[in-house]
């Protein structure tokens, strides 16, 4: 536990870092991954875990996400995706589905959403999984598995937003949404992340999609530095 550092950004999930009896840090909006990169590079013995939301990680923090994944910096990024900016009152964000209603897309969202597992895989993550909040035990197992791996790991957790997003779109209570997950989610491990469908109404493909190995950034830095110091 002394090696764990839990880092969060801003949003509904932002306060998550405060729930751990571990070293933890609550950054500004979008910057959790950049902070975690600093932590990991400065002290590679530490195990950073970033917990944040879809808006934080993929809109304002999107650049940090793709570059940390590209570098393959060792960290686990857990994204709680509720399809909107919940904490600020339910505005549309980078994962808001086509035509969905939010307070800043009152006539239906015309933007195309990110498929987060696809972004993560394309950016170079070595482990990519998606579960819904209902898959609590499978999610726990994926987290355990990801923590054993070295590199940039990404797990998306589809989560209800009963007070805002689900209400605006008339999906019912949190319980209704969770029941919907049970009905429409399918587990398809090693599906091509590009094809890992995510449709709130019809089908959510869950599972572990990517589990691969490649050299990790701080290991490469250390190797290079060791080589240079011997000169």
């Amino acid at each position: 536990m002394d090696r764990l550092v839990v880092i969060s950004g801003i949003g509904c999930t932002g306060r998550a870092s405060g729930y751990f009896a571990a070293d933890s840090y609550h950054t500004t909006h979008g910057r959790a991954i950049a902070f975690a990169s600093g932590v990991k590079v400065a002290n590679p013995d530490l195990k950073p875990v970033v917990i944040s939301g879809d808006g934080d990680l993929f809109a304002i923090g999107g650049n940090h996400f793709i570059h940390a994944a590209r570098r393959n910096v060792d960290m686990l990024v857990l994204c709680v995706n509720n399809f909107n900016y919940g904490m600020t009152g339910g505005q549309m964000g980078p994962t808001t589905p086509d035509s969905a209603i939010t307070v800043t897309s009152p006539d239906g969202n015309i933007e195309h959403p990110f498929n987060l597992v696809s972004v993560a895989a394309a950016s170079g993550a070595v482990f990519v999984a998606r579960w819904t909040a209902l898959h609590a035990r499978r999610l726990t197992k994926s987290i355990e598995k990801a923590l054993q791996k070295k590199g940039f790991k990404f797990i998306e957790v589809i989560s209800p937003c009963p007070t805002l997003y689900d209400r605006y779109n008339r999906y019912g209570s949190g319980l209704d949404v969770m029941k919907k997950y049970r009905e429409i989610s399918v587990i398809r491990n090693f599906t091509d992340p590009m094809k890992a469908e995510i449709d709130y109404r019809t089908r959510i493909v869950c599972g572990e999609f990517v589990d691969t190995e490649k050299p990790e950034f701080t290991d490469l830095l250390a190797q290079q530095s060791d080589r240079l110091q011997k000169r």
Partner: protein, 97 residues
Amino acid sequence: MLTRQERTPIIPEEEQATKYQIIVNEDWCKGCGFCYSFCPREVLEKSTRFNSKGYYPPEAVNIDRCVGCGLCEALCPDFAIHVEEKKAKIKAKKGDK
């Protein structure tokens, strides 16, 4: 093939009945219903009394059916549920160490 009579139940009912307890911090509950709706053994049910916030917290009506899977604990968005093995078992665990 073993006949049904020959098989030993994996979880003997009588042992099971004393194994787990579910502790609910009722005042943290916001009544979402996840715990009792998704309990695979139908251990939990919505209670009929209000908590201090005006929600109906869950109660373990069939605790003898609980297999300690912890799904209710994991699903609770408010950290209001805690599933644990009963004390006898806990003692044994400590002794193991």
